[in-house]
Structure formats: structure tokens, C-alpha cells
């Protein structure tokens, strides 16, 4: 990724904050949304984006983050339902070109994929990684990209 991208990340937990720090250090424009302002403490010195206190399922909040301009939206809160909701909003309503949702529950994750959302399921991803590590590849991919 050498070109410039505008990224909105919903949820500033361990995943969201790491992603935000790395993208910001790369030179991307990053806006992080979280309900609790304390969670922004996880953002490092590399982070030079904006942090927005608010509810990621609230369209006013998403619009304040200028989601309409976004090239990528990542939904990484700790709630599957919130992530699915945010991802659908970004995909359907705001027509964001790339949307990634993290969904913990594998069944919900496959349902999400049926809706046409790029979905990462940590459980599937770990299983894949283990299988790949021991050389028994061939399985359904945890971070399959279908849209």
C-alpha cells in the first residue's frame, strides 16, 4: 500500500488500535471511533490521525468521521453485532469500496459472508494458521475475501 488511503476504524481495542497505529505510521489518514475515550490511550506516538468519541452504529458519528470519503472501513469492536451493523452501513449506505468486519462467532461470520461482507473470524483464522503451520493446509479460509 504505497498510495494514500482514508481509513475509518470503529473500535479502538487491541486490534483497532494496532491497526490504527500501523496505518498512521505508513502515512495513511486514519480516524478511529470508540465509545469510551479511555480506550484511545492504546494509540501510540506514531498515531497522527483523529480519534472520535462516539457510537459507530450512529450515522451522525460515522458522517462526522467522513465515512463517505473512506477507502476502507474496519469494524473491530468487541461486539459481533456492532461490527456487522457497522460493516453493513459502510457497505450498503455509504458505498465504501472496502469494508472489513471482525466477527468472533464462526457461524455469524459465515452468515456475514453471505451478506457480501469481507469478514475475519479470529477462530477460523487461528485454525487456518495452525493447519498451515503444521502443513495440513486445505480448509475454509478464516479471512476469505468474497464479495
Amino acid at each position: 500500500m504505497s498510495a494514500h488511503h482514508y481509513v475509518v476504524i470503529v473500535g479502538c481495542g487491541q486490534t483497532g488500535s494496532r491497526l490504527a497505529n500501523r496505518l498512521s505510521a505508513q502515512g495513511q489518514s486514519v480516524v478511529v471511533i470508540d465509545r469510551r475515550p479511555e480506550s484511545f490511550a492504546a494509540l501510540s506516538l506514531e498515531f497522527s490521525g483523529f480519534s472520535l468519541e462516539g457510537d459507530g452504529t450512529d450515522s451522525a458519528c460515522l458522517e462526522q468521521a467522513k465515512i463517505g470519503q473512506a477507502d476502507l472501513v474496519v469494524a473491530a469492536t468487541r461486539e459481533d453485532a456492532v461490527n456487522m451493523m457497522v460493516a453493513q452501513l459502510a457497505h450498503r449506505v455509504y458505498r465504501v469500496p472496502r469494508v472489513v468486519a471482525r466477527v468472533f462467532h464462526p457461524e455469524r461470520a459465515s452468515f456475514c459472508r453471505e451478506l457480501g461482507l469481507t469478514t475475519i473470524c479470529p477462530a477460523d483464522a487461528t485454525a487456518d494458521a495452525v493447519l498451515g503451520l503444521v502443513g495440513f493446509g486445505n480448509s475454509s479460509c478464516g479471512c476469505r475475501e468474497d464479495s
Partner: protein, 497 residues
């Protein structure tokens, strides 16, 4: 890695970036040579600029080569503060050097002139009728670069550390877009637009190219150096004053506000507290200055109105262009200018002073407290403010910071003006001149002069430096340097035993 090794690695990165800034300053110091195209006979003075530039470039190159970090380093705001303090001090001393031979100043006067340039103040001890075009252009270039800030120029033009630490340390707290590097480039772009508008505008109203450059650069950087001893009063033409008023107001705008304006977000601009405060302050103070002072002093009514408007805007935007001298101004007029100079321009702009944002915030806090007294005890009062495009509610932490800053500012003002009085100024000129220095304004009632007491000049130099870099950074950086030094000393002495 123990604490000392860690410190050493941090300071290596700090020195490397300081070196990079030195290289930038060296490059800037060569720009006055451009006037040789038009005035080749001034080549005798070229060495005054080339020698310090070469020394600066050499120092910068050595630092950068020796300590260059692998990849881009990540700096905290405190570490950014060390870079800002060292590179600004280096830039000021290097920039003072040409004045010693080329404008026949002593070291104190030369440093004063350089500080006044880089901090975009505009108080001057150079006799502008006697010096070469090169010196005049150099004064304007210092203001142009000082207005944007060394960090902003470096981050926009060259590689730099990752993260917002460095630009925060230079007082650029508002970011335009969610990536510091792009934000900084936008600032330089907006500044470039001002520059073109300024030079073009002044050229259109009939100034020569050289005069246009030497008044456009100081106007947009709210600096206020002029190449004439009677400043803008030299022309005494309404059109010139009109263009300069426009440029000064642009220069005093928060870059975030300017960005919104550029993108046509007029609603967000109109809702902004700084804009509202400015829209109130300028007419009110111009009317007071007109009624109390100018009406009696200048017989032609049109002239009196022009003077009242121009001087108040020049004071509030902390530019420091003058169309008249204040020797004959009475109490109310001088008072209006002092108050405006203390308030100053927009936060995150090229202007100085306490800043309109802080004054507006304190005013809102005061109103909120009054309202609270009239409401039931359990009522929750929240004060909304518009910042950029967002509505935010006043946080206690914000209020604390602002109160601490204003307290520090006013205490420094008290001490500095006392020092000026102890070197022989009367009360009124001392209060005026130090408000002007601390707010990086540049209006003068005559305390600033070649013959001024060295202590007075150093006091004002310190005031300008503190005012431009917003106190807190300098204080925190000095404390950090002291602590780190103490640790290093303790470590080496323990090793020796």
C-alpha cells in the same frame, strides 16, 4: 537496554533531526542572494550570508550523517520540544550573523533582530534606509519561514519523524486532516496561496516587486517588518492599506479555519468562536480608537477612520505594521492597542498573543459560571464550542490548561514590563512595548531603538521567543533536558567509581 542506552538512542535521533533543520536554515540563508540578479553591485556583502550558511550546513550535515536513524524515528512531544528548541536557537544565532557586518549591529542587536524576524514580531533595530536589499530581503524571509515554522517546512519538504510529536511541539496543535504529514502539506499549500495573493495584490495596487515581496511576506506571517522607516505610512494610500488588512486577517486565521473556508464550509467558519470574537473585537476597538483618539488627532475624518481601523487590526492580528507613530496618542488609544496585542490572533495561525481561542473559552467559562448561579443547584451546565467542523463540550482539563497558560502569560508580561521600566522606560511605553514583544506583534512606541539598553533588548528577545513557542514547550523542554542531563551525569560518575 538500560535507561542510559535508551536516552542515548533517543538523543541520537533528536540530534539527527536537529541537523536536518540546520540544513534547511542554511538553504534559507542563501535566498537573499537572489537580489544579486537585480542589484549585482551588492555582491560585496554576499559573504555575510554565505559564510554562516556554509557553517550551518556543515554542522547540520555532520549531525545528520552521524546520527541518522535507520528508518523514520517516532518522537514524543517532549522530544519534539528538544528539537524545536535547539533548531530555533541555532536558526536565530545563524540568522543574526549577517546583520553584524552587513547592518553594522552588535551581537545583542543582531540577535534581537533575528529573534524578531523568526518569531514574526517585527520590532527592529536595523536602520532600513542604510542597509542593502539583501538584508531587507533576509528580514522578510525570516518572517516568512518563521510564520510557517521550521518543523512545518521540514515535515512538508523533507523526510521527518513519524507521528505528531514534533509539530505539536512547535505549537501546531490543530490538525487539518487525520494524517500529520498531509496536514502539514496543506498548511504549506494554504500559506503558499497567501504568498501569491499577497505579492500579487500589492503589485496590483502599484508597489514595486521588491516592496511587494517585503510587505507581503511580513503581512501573511503577521510579522510586520517593513523596508521603510515609517512602515506602511510610507505610502499613505488607502488601497495599499486595504490589501494589507486583508493579508493580515488571513495570516491571523487558524489554518484549520482557512482550510474550511477554502473548501466552502462557511457555516463552520461562521460558528467558530475565534471568528465571532474577532468580528466583535475589530469594530468595537476601531470605534473606540476613532472616538477617543484618532478623531481629535487627525483633522481629515477619512484619515482618522483609516488609522483607527488599520492600527487596531495590525495589533489584534499581531502583525505590527504602522501607518502613524503613537507618540501623540492619548491613554484610551494606547490602552486599546495593548489589550488587543495581549489577546492576539487565532490559535494555530502565524499570529501570537494569548490567542483568541483561549480568550473566547475563558469568556464562555465565565458566562457559564454566572448562569450556574441562577440555576438550581443540581442543574447540569455544559458549554458547547465549535472546533473546526465539530461541536465539542468544554472539558475541565481544557479549562485548566487555558487558565495555566493565561496565568503564565500574564506573569511573564508583568515581569518583562517591570524589567523594561528598570532599564529606564516609563510605565506606559514599557507596558506597550512588552505586550508587543510577548505577543510577537511589533508595534512600537520607541522603546526599541538602536541605543536601547542591552538588558531591555535581551528582555524583549526572550519575550518574543517565549511568545512564539508558547511557553509551555520551552519550560517542559528545559526541565526535561535538565533531568536527562542529571541522569547521564549520575550514571557516568557511578561508572567511574
Amino acid at each position: 537496554m538500560n535507561r542510559i542506552e535508551f536516552l542515548a538512542s533517543r538523543y541520537r535521533a533528536i540530534l539527527a533531526y536537529t541537523g536536518l533543520m540546520f540544513l534547511l536554515v542554511a538553504g534559507l540563508m542563501l535566498t537573499p542572494l537572489l537580489v544579486l540578479v537585480a542589484w549585482p553591485d551588492e555582491a560585496v556583502q554576499a559573504a555575510c550570508f554565505i559564510v554562516p550558511a556554509v557553517v550551518m550546513a556543515g554542522a547540520g550535515w555532520i549531525l545528520w550523517r552521524m546520527f541518522r536513524p535507520r528508518g523514520a524515528a517516532v518522537l514524543s512531544a517532549a522530544e519534539g520540544g528538544v528539537i524545536v528548541l535547539m533548531s530555533w536557537s541555532g536558526a536565530i544565532f545563524a540568522s543574526a550573523m549577517p546583520f553584524i557586518p552587513a547592518a553594522s549591529l552588535n551581537l545583542t542587536q543582531a540577535v534581537f533582530e533575528a529573534v524578531s524576524g523568526w518569531t514574526t514580531t517585527g520590532l527592529s533595530v536595523v536602520d532600513v534606509t542604510q542597509v542593502s536589499h539583501m538584508v531587507l530581503l533576509w528580514r522578510s524571509m525570516m518572517q516568512l519561514a518563521g510564520g510557517a515554522g521550521l518543523v512545518v517546512i521540514m515535515l512538508a519538504a523533507l523526510a521527518g519523524p513519524i507521528g505528531p510529536g514534533l509539530s505539536i511541539a512547535e505549537g501546531r496543535t490543530d490538525q487539518l486532516v487525520p494524517q500529520v504529514r498531509r496536514s502539514v502539506r496543506l498548511v504549506v499549500l494554504i500559506y503558499g496561496i497567501y504568498m501569491v495573493l499577497g505579492v500579487g495584490g500589492l503589485r496590483l495596487v502599484g508597489l514595486t516587486w521588491f516592496d511587494a515581496v517585503n510587505h507581503a511576506f511580513p503581512a501573511i506571517s503577521t510579522g510586520g517588518f517593513s523596508s521603510y522607516p515609517d512602515s506602511v505610512g510610507h505610502w499613505d494610500r488607502p488601497l495599499v492599506e486595504g490589501v494589507l488588512i486583508g493579508l493580515m486577517i488571513l495570516g491571523n486565521l487558524n489554518f484549520l479555519t482557512a482550510y474550511l473556508l477554502l473548501r466552502g464550509r462557511l457555516r463552520s467558519v461562521v460558528r467558530n468562536g475565534e471568528i465571532r470574537l474577532m468580528a466583535l473585537l475589530i469594530p468595537v476597538s476601531a470605534v473606540v480608537a476613532y472616538l477617543a483618539t484618532c478623531r481629535a488627532l487627525y483633522p481629515a475624518p477619512w484619515k482618522a477612520v483609516r488609522v483607527a481601523v488599520f492600527e487596531t487590526i495590525s495589533a489584534l492580528t499581531t502583525t505590527g505594521f504602522q501607518t502613524v507613530t503613537y507618540g501623540s496618542w492619548n491613554g484610551p488609544g494606547v490602552w486599546v492597542l495593548i489589550v488587543l496585542m495581549l489577546i492576539g490572533g487565532g490559535v494555530c495561525s502565524t499570529a501570537g498573543g494569548i490567542k483568541q481561542y483561549r480568550v473566547h473559552l475563558l469568556f464562555r467559562v465565565m458566562l457559564g459560571e454566572l448562569r450556574r448561579l441562577l440555576l438550581p443547584r443540581s442543574a447540569v451546565v455544559s458549554e458547547p464550542l465549535w472546533q473546526g467542523e465539530y461541536k465539542v463540550f468544554l472539558q475541565d482539563a481544557q479549562i485548566r490548561q487555558v487558565v495555566a497558560f493565561v496565568c503564565l502569560y500574564l506573569s511573564t508580561y508583568a515581569v518583562g514590563s517591570l524589567l523594561l521600566m528598570m532599564t529606564g522606560s516609563a510605565l506606559e511605553p514599557a507596558l506597550f512595548e512588552f505586550a508587543s514583544a510577548l505577543g510577537t506583534v511589533g508595534l512600537s512606541v520607541g522603546v526599541t531603538a538602536r541605543g536601547a539598553h542591552p538588558v531591555a533588548l535581551w528582555t524583549m528577545s526572550t519575550g518574543m521567543f517565549l511568545g512564539r513557542l508558547e511557553f509551555v514547550v520551552i519550560l517542559v523542554t528545559l526541565i526535561k533536558l535538565g533531568r536527562d542531563f542529571q541522569q547521564a551525569v549520575r550514571f557516568t560518575s557511578r561508572n567511574r567509581v
